[in-house]
Symmetry: C2
Subunit: 233 residues, 2 copies
């Protein structure tokens, strides 16, 4: 039995977003899901599935970071987003995945076949509500990305990216240090910037004394000015 399927701790928001967090799943619902989920452990840089593959399951991230991306006809790579703990991914269209996903770090995934998921959801409206909330959250994530990429200045985009990771990143989110497990290329493909522009933007923010970058983390040195840059999107 899968003990800690992260669904119950879903970063859920109700349809209205009002009220407290959604009630947790009952023990029977939890067991039901666990009985149809397969635990998968993947090492870093492993492909979970490719764009176009037959979509047979959805995944729940049980730990680690996954990147969702797509190779465009032009050869460029577009990063749809990153999936953290308790995030759902694997949405498909016409029976095929629309994005590719790859493990950025070592990850634990819970794999749930689509047919059995449909059945379970159809039988349990309350459980389905959790999924609905989760998908609603996806919409917000996607819109948030749109807001970030809409900015014209590279520094602003990088700052908002850091701010996003500070908010939605893994549980231990201190306010001054943010982990950046992904490469600069991944960041660039998410922000729609070249790696050079990302690097230069980081350089400027560093030179201004606002952020201190190391390879895979950032330290917020000047929260006031940082928030100012993030704010005027």
């Amino acid at each position: 039995v899968i003990a800690n399927l992260p669904l119950p701790s879903i970063r859920a928001m109700s349809l209205s977003g009002a009220g407290p967090a959604r009630p947790l799943l009952t023990e029977s619902q939890r067991r039901r899901l666990a009985s149809v989920a397969t635990r998968v452990e993947l090492s870093a840089r492993t492909i979970v599935y490719h764009d176009g593959d037959a979509a047979e399951a959805i995944f729940i991230n049980g730990g680690g970071v996954v990147i969702s991306y797509k190779e465009m006809p032009s050869g460029k790579r577009r990063v749809a987003g990153f999936r953290f703990y308790a995030d759902l991914f694997g949405l498909a269209e016409h029976g095929a995945y629309v994005n590719s996903t790859r493990a950025v770090t070592a990850v634990t995934l819970y794999r749930i076949p689509l047919d059995v998921l449909s059945t379970v959801l159809r039988e349990d409206a309350d459980l389905e509500f959790h999924f609905l909330c989760k998908v609603v959250d996806e919409v917000r994530q996607s819109q948030r990305k749109s807001i970030i990429v809409a900015r014209r200045d590279a520094e602003g985009r990088v700052a908002m990216f850091v701010d996003m990771l500070r908010q939605i990143g893994p549980p231990p989110h201190k306010d001054t240090i943010v982990e950046l497990p992904m490469s600069r290329a991944d960041i660039g493909d998410f922000l729609n910037l070249t790696i050079e522009s990302v690097s230069r933007a980081c350089g400027k923010l560093k030179k201004a004394g606002i952020l201190a970058f190391s390879r895979h983390s950032v330290r917020i040195l000047d929260p006031a000015r940082f928030d100012a840059i993030v704010g005027n999107g």
Copy 2:
């Protein structure tokens, strides 16, 4: 009683996107929804709700075009997207709407209070599944927008915008003529371009003999080259 609540004709895709269209709602489900929905008729340029308003209901577009946008702190306007027939809108966060919505044309809306919606969905897993599919569709829309805006050339963005409207636009979508009910400013705020850039892009596409713009519609003159431009995103 509300006769033609458009939910049954939802442009639904299942979670997997596989298989045929979702089965229609039963007559009892339909009545149930209609009994909690209020029909609203709005004239063009009417605000449906403002960003930050207390979210008390979700809306289903029963005809016409609605624009979803947000005023940014910088003063710029960002358009999240357009809602056509059978589209759902009114998602909120922390009890408040995250976007403003405005009628672009005269519209018919079905207003469903959130509390009663939650109850109804909780009692009927199958009905809820329709909503889930609808929201999944929202995710795709949002990701599609990201792909469009990711392009660097204004002409490509405008072309993909036209192509998007050709596909998801109102039912009578001929392949050669696409309606553009929204203003150039609305298009620009969606594509993240200035109205001047939109105008110039339209001009180039016209001069190239690919598209013919009139105030509120486009004609695709050269489908081959049009598809070529749309394709290399």
